[in-house]
Homo-oligomer: 491 residues x 2
């Protein structure tokens, strides 16, 4: 065989795992890659021909890549966990570096639990950290929580992955997923060759969960022979920014009890709530279990897995990959299989586990680090809210754009109505009109957002998702200016 | 329905994913859980009725849970990455804490690359860190390496998981796996519902890779209709402690070229080599590609993925979950699918990525931190070697035990010959004889090791795996004493 004819390979796009090919994950797709190319070009000083001076990554909830500073208390503690030898120089820490007593104490406590952040922990996570998580849940909900039900994980994504791997038994297994949704869910179901059973959120009522709509989706799926096992709820919503009421949550749990569904409650944005307060599924479930409605034990065995993360909220430590899920109502033999599954990947990153502890057990009033913690935490919250409102106002003034009032999470997900001419042009370019819009926005302004097709949207509607994490609100006017030109171009 | 009759659940052991049920992972199985119970009991002061005073976890390569101290340079840098505000107090760092100039410089360089260790990086890993990895490979092998071929990952396990997910296309896909093996491979294949095609290592020649044996296993598997796509090689060996020669490696690559197999080279123990030197598969491949043997381009498209990790070696930072794999010879469309797969899980832990950089680019001669780094590194190496030899000597003196000379990795994997009476007793207890041996060892001495059945062994043989990480060599005599009694008990 001559050199011209290359040797055949073992792997080709034709013969690899079709489930991987099937999976879609737009948040880090073509647009994101192109925006990184622009960023590199500008960094190298080769961006002079570009119509913008900086790239704004509004495609992904990555607070610390943008403006958000880590919380000082957290990072002072983790610096000591990384180098415990510093604890031998308490005097320098306190007088030279301004570390407070509670920072030092917390480092000691965590090191006693994990021994070294360089050592594997138990697969389920360090025992002391799980105790702190249980305490946090108890205080949040007013109902007890058991550390043995807590599984620490490398970000909520890893938790979702473990849970779905155990749930999905065959190509007929289905899971109810809200549309729009964070694409982790559909991507993971594709990888597991299981079925997405979509249910649509109600845009007009702040993206609330429409329980009759879930019932209908469920009943249709079952008619088609799909074995529906679970329902995913993302609250506060990603990409929608919606926030569910206690009643809405109770109705989902009643449905789960009646229809024998596991509830997967993605609550990673639980501290990002601007309107009203956050209601947890765990509290919703325990409230029902202890109410008159449970006379016949209807709610006793509802299986609920609720997820939380250090990546979002005012913590924003996504690079550290930390989170937890609490499982209640699960059969013990099933839990043992989840344990085995997570043990194959050994353990979640230990420094991320420690950040989970810091998140759920921050400085309390009266403790030395409290004032600074509170100031930083509140400052981040305020900034997020300010930017959300600025973006919301801008969207209200943009032609053909409609946006729900910002309630929570880190995102807005406006509807855009584009002209037939724009839709035609997109078709010719073999793109969705929302994709074309986002690509033109990137090329014109350097702002990277994600088209609605990446999350799902009702047939015939178009959306995009943007974070409101980027510093300042100046970039918002870049969007407004682009939008006007885009509308004119395709008028 | 009365309270006595519980509501049915969605998930039962009968209806969950059968592939998860099928997966086995003994390293963290029943014995490990029992040993943790003993440890907790002792910690609570309730261990007085136990015949031992401490638990020795020799079941898992977890250096820092035992004696191994982290390398000071690494942890000084990571402490600054965790709290970059410290960089504003250079004077205190240097004069108060003894941090050297190169520590501070490295922190600056890494922060420039990742911006914050709390931010997501590119899914493939931070660009600057991948450049350092490529440089390290170039220096190690004398052949060039390209940062775009480097994928950082959350420990080598995450890399293996990504690669196998893409390779395994159907229940007929098979991967050649050495027996004995680290059970990650068989567990992952079980999860993916693909086929393990076992090939046996040659115990009598230091657990070398028997290429004719692989050929035979391959040909038999193909006859059975298995679509064999890849061959796993673990070098230095886990659990075997073997270390492959350059010739042995070249033969595996020749086989891969002829039979169109991806080579998955698990090289996480590459610095744990006591005899001779480590030969990388990458060098083996490039040597062949640039040799006369490649006249007809036979080796041009050999697909090799080689994995390395911060968890093992003298680094021992397994709790930080860091590693990388280099892919060469892969089709670009296949690589794009691997990229998409890893992007669904967002990115590897960023502080773990930084530790990869520190591992591959440690202080050099002449730099301020070099002397201490060298002393610590060499000290850890020497201790490991000393303990390996102590364990080896003890095994040589134990009745019915035969152990290969320790060549590398962190493990020994001796054969044990047990009496028919012992084998009978185990059968009655519904256990393998190796399992019973390990359980009795744990109950009698608090030492936790893993039975050979957890890694695989030739029919009719029995083994166990022990790490040589536990401090001192005193615990070795606990094993010797137990072994004598066990042999007498079943004589």
């Amino acid at each position: 065989m001559g050199k011209e004819e290359p040797q055949p390979r073992s792997l080709t796009i034709q013969n690899i795992n079709p489930n991987v090919k099937e999976a879609k994950y737009a948040v880090r797709g073509e647009l994101a890659i192109k925006s990184e190319e622009y960023r590199t070009k500008i960094a190298k000083g080769e961006g002079k021909d570009l119509p913008f001076e900086s790239v704004i990554s509004a495609n992904i909830g990555n607070p610390q890549q943008l403006d958000q500073k880590p919380i000082t208390f957290f990072r002072q503690v983790t610096s000591l966990l990384e180098n415990p030898l510093l604890l031998e120089k308490e005097d320098v820490l306190i007088n030279g570096l301004g570390y407070k007593k509670d920072v030092i104490e917390r480092a000691h406590t965590l090191l006693k639990d994990v021994k070294s952040v360089g050592a594997y922990s138990q697969s389920q996570g360090a025992p002391g950290i799980r105790e702190s998580v249980a305490k946090f849940i108890e205080e949040r909900d007013g109902h007890s929580a058991d550390p043995k039900n807590i599984y620490l994980c490398g970000g909520a994504s890893a938790g979702v992955n473990a849970l779905m791997n155990v749930i999905c038994a065959s190509p007929e297994t289905g899971i109810l997923v809200p549309i729009p949704q964070y694409p982790l869910y559909t991507a993971t179901l594709a990888l597991l060759n299981a079925k997405v059973v979509p249910y649509y959120l109600e845009e007009q009522s702040g993206w609330s969960t429409d329980v009759p709509g879930i019932r209908e989706a469920l009943s249709n799926a079952r008619k088609e022979g799909i074995d529906v096992r679970a329902v995913v709820v993302i609250n506060p919503g990603n990409p929608t920014g919606g926030s569910l009421s206690a009643d809405n949550i109770a109705s989902v749990i009643e449905l789960a009890a009646e229809e024998k569904l596991v509830v997967l409650a993605d609550e990673v944005y639980q501290t990002n709530v601007f309107e009203g307060k956050f209601h947890s599924f765990k509290k919703g479930l325990r409230d029902l279990q202890t109410s008159d409605k449970n006379k016949e034990g209807k709610f006793d065995n509802v299986e609920l897995a609720s997820l939380h993360s250090i990546s979002k909220g005012m913590v924003g430590e996504c690079g550290h990959r930390g989170g937890y899920y609490e499982m209640v109502g699960f059969d013990e033999e099933v839990v043992a299989q989840i344990y085995k599954f997570v043990s194959i990947m050994l353990c979640p990153p230990v420094i991320g586990q420690c950040l989970v502890e810091l998140m759920v057990n921050p400085p309390k009033e009266g403790e030395p680090s409290y004032a600074q913690y509170k100031e930083e935490y509140d400052g981040i919250f305020k900034d997020l809210h300010t930017r959300a409102m600025a973006l919301y106002k801008a969207f209200q003034e943009m032609e053909g754009v409609e946006c729900q009032y910002p309630q929570g999470s880190m995102y807005l997900y406006p509807t855009i109505k584009l002209s037939d001419k724009a839709i035609e042009a997109a078709k010719k370019a073999n793109k969705g009109a929302d994709e074309m819009y986002c690509m033109e926005l990137l090329d014109a302004t350097g702002i990277c957002i994600v088209p609605g097709s990446g999350f799902g949207q009702k047939e015939g509607t178009l959306h995009f998702r943007t974070t409101f994490l980027a510093p300042g609100t100046d970039w918002v006017s870049r969007i407004t200016a682009f939008h006007g030109k885009f509308m004119d171009k395709y008028r």
